[in-house]
């Protein structure tokens, strides 16, 4: 087991080190969520005047939860890009040769994704608070919101890891990113689910991201809804995606 942790620690350290010392990697992962927050919370705040829009903490808080969870998911996605880059550069093959417990590689990348998101999530939260976001939830409820972000980050990192290890090329970037992007934007991003109409309402209703988003917004507002469903969904996704990532690793091992 110690060999597993040694590998995981080494990969995680390298992942976060590469992120922090390379502005080309670090800056976009921080700047993009900030711009989403500015564009959505600032540019679309009038949406809260739509009849029957009711979210007591206000539109900035409403959008903050989406951007917070989106940054968590994209923390995982960006890690997938790094894994693909490692395969393109040949580093990942050397890593596979040298690691005594290869499953530690997946754990290491996942921990790296989490550390990376902690940085982004903190910046986004500070920006939202500076912008005057109201927080009605209690300490425990906010802890629950962070827990949702952690689970979202883990699920996205495992997905990205699996795809990157199956395809082993940077050209996998679009395939890693697009499903996550589309799933996130097919949730009730701009207005509550009840205000959506037509096909987007039907799709959002079935979208597994919707209960996560609603739970996050409920926790921030101090009136939790669907929290158990959200955590159960994310736990189930994480289990499935762990199996997927392990198969990706096996495929990479087989490819040599």
């Amino acid at each position: 087991m110690s060999r597993f942790f040694n590998v995981a620690r080494g990969v995680a350290w390298r992942s976060i080190h590469n992120t922090v010392v390379n502005p080309a990697i670090l800056v976009p992962s921080i700047v993009f969520p900030l711009f989403f927050l500015i564009a959505f919370a600032g540019g679309l705040s009038r949406i809260s005047d739509v009849p029957n829009f009711n979210y007591p903490p206000g539109y900035t808080a409403f959008q903050f939860v989406f951007v917070f969870l989106q940054s968590a998911a994209f923390g995982g996605v960006f890690t997938g890009f790094a894994i693909a880059r490692d395969f393109d550069s040949g580093f990942a093959r050397r890593l596979l040769l040298s690691a005594p417990r290869r499953s530690g590689i997946i754990a290491g990348y996942a921990i790296g994704a989490l550390l990376r998101w902690m940085l982004t999530g903190t910046v986004v939260t500070i920006a939202a608070l500076i912008a005057g976001m109201n927080v009605n939830g209690s300490g425990i409820q906010l802890f629950g919101l962070i827990g949702l972000g952690v689970a979202m980050n883990l699920a996205a990192a495992l997905w990205a890891c699996g795809v990157a290890m199956f395809l082993r090329t940077e050209q996998a970037g679009a395939l890693i990113q697009m499903p996550v992007f589309v799933l996130l934007f097919l949730a009730p991003v701009y207005v509550p689910l009840s205000l959506l109409t037509g096909w987007i309402h039907a799709v959002a209703n079935l979208n597994p991201v919707t209960p996560v988003l609603e739970a996050g917004r409920g926790l921030l507002a101090g009136s939790p809804v669907k929290v158990a469903i959200a955590f159960a969904g994310l736990a189930g996704a994480a289990m499935l995606l762990t199996a997927f990532a392990r198969r990706g690793l096996a495929s990479a091992e087989k490819a040599g």
């Binding site: 080309a24 711009f35 679309l44 739509v50 109409t197 037509g198 987007i200």
Partner: protein, 275 residues
């Protein structure tokens, strides 16, 4: 995927100076067009992505039409301008990355050894991106019409929308070319791409400026020229013939085009300096 294509240089002769320029531009342009269309896989994402956002946001933001004073009751009418601008921004990257690849591979240096003129090289290089912009614009227009968008300015308005959209694409392609010539690497061009998207986020792309609640955001959108490009395209769909909006849209697009081409020309001269 690297794609190498040859240039069929014009036959030797003594045509007039302007005729020579046209021939040379067409020769380089042909190579640029062939290269873009040989990389069909790379064309799909830039074309599809704005359509995905159009489909999702067109429905997800439709409750915005219930805000008092919203100019139309169909949010897709309002949003149709967005894919055109997004597509134009993707065109700028295609143009920039292709030109940067020619710089990195030394192709531009080899061209510098020929009698080819700098203006022809620049305009020709942007030819592929321009054609891509035109194809994208037609696709976006057809998708818009298929999803029920109606033009307040009629068929003539749709034609003007296409023309303006192509001018905007050419302006952004020139900007991409300028970035490539200045920085010389595709990575640098792609690194600057997010900044273009920021200008789109900070514009009147999702709500009319008079309905933006946050004063600071409204001020930024007012000073952001991208707002006027969007509003000109949008005016043809939801207002009709709004001369002021069209003048501002064509004006800003032309300004961007002239400045980018002028600076690109100067940067191209530096790149092709024969030592």
């Amino acid at each position: 995927m690297a794609v190498e294509t040859a240039i069929d240089l014009p036959r030797a002769g003594h045509p007039s100076r302007s005729a020579g320029l046209v021939e040379q531009t067409l020769a380089v342009g042909r190579r640029s067009v062939v290269r873009v269309f040989r990389q069909r896989a790379l064309m799909i994402f830039p074309m599809i992505f704005p359509l995905i956002l159009f489909a999702i946001n067109g429905s997800a933001l439709s409750p915005a039409t219930r805000i008092p004073g919203f100019p139309t009751d169909n949010y897709r009418d309002f949003l149709l301008a967005m894919p055109f601008i997004q597509g134009a921004m993707f065109v700028s990257i295609t143009a920039g990355v292709d030109l940067a690849r020619d710089i990195e591979s030394g192709f531009l240096n080899r061209l510098a050894m020929t009698p080819l003129r700098g203006e022809a090289m620049l305009l020709g290089q942007l030819g592929g991106a321009l054609l891509l912009g035109a194809v994208q614009a037609i696709v976006y227009l057809l998708v818009g019409v298929a999803t029920g968008v109606s033009f307040a300015s009629g068929v003539g308005g749709a034609v003007v929308l296409l023309v303006l959209s192509i001018v905007i694409s050419f302006a952004f392609a020139s900007l991409g070319g300028l970035l490539a010539l200045r920085f010389g690497t595709g990575e640098a061009v792609q690194g600057i791409f997010p900044l273009l998207f920021v200008t789109l986020f900070l514009s009147s792309s999702s709500l009319p400026r008079n309905l933006i609640k946050a004063t600071w955001f409204r001020d930024i959108a007012t000073y952001n020229p991208v707002s006027y490009l969007i509003e000109a395209l949008r005016s043809l769909v939801i207002t009709g013939w709004d001369v002021q909006a069209l003048a501002l849209g064509f004006g800003f697009a032309s300004l961007l085009l002239v400045i980018s081409l002028g600076l690109s020309q100067s940067a191209m001269r530096s790149r092709l300096a024969r030592t």
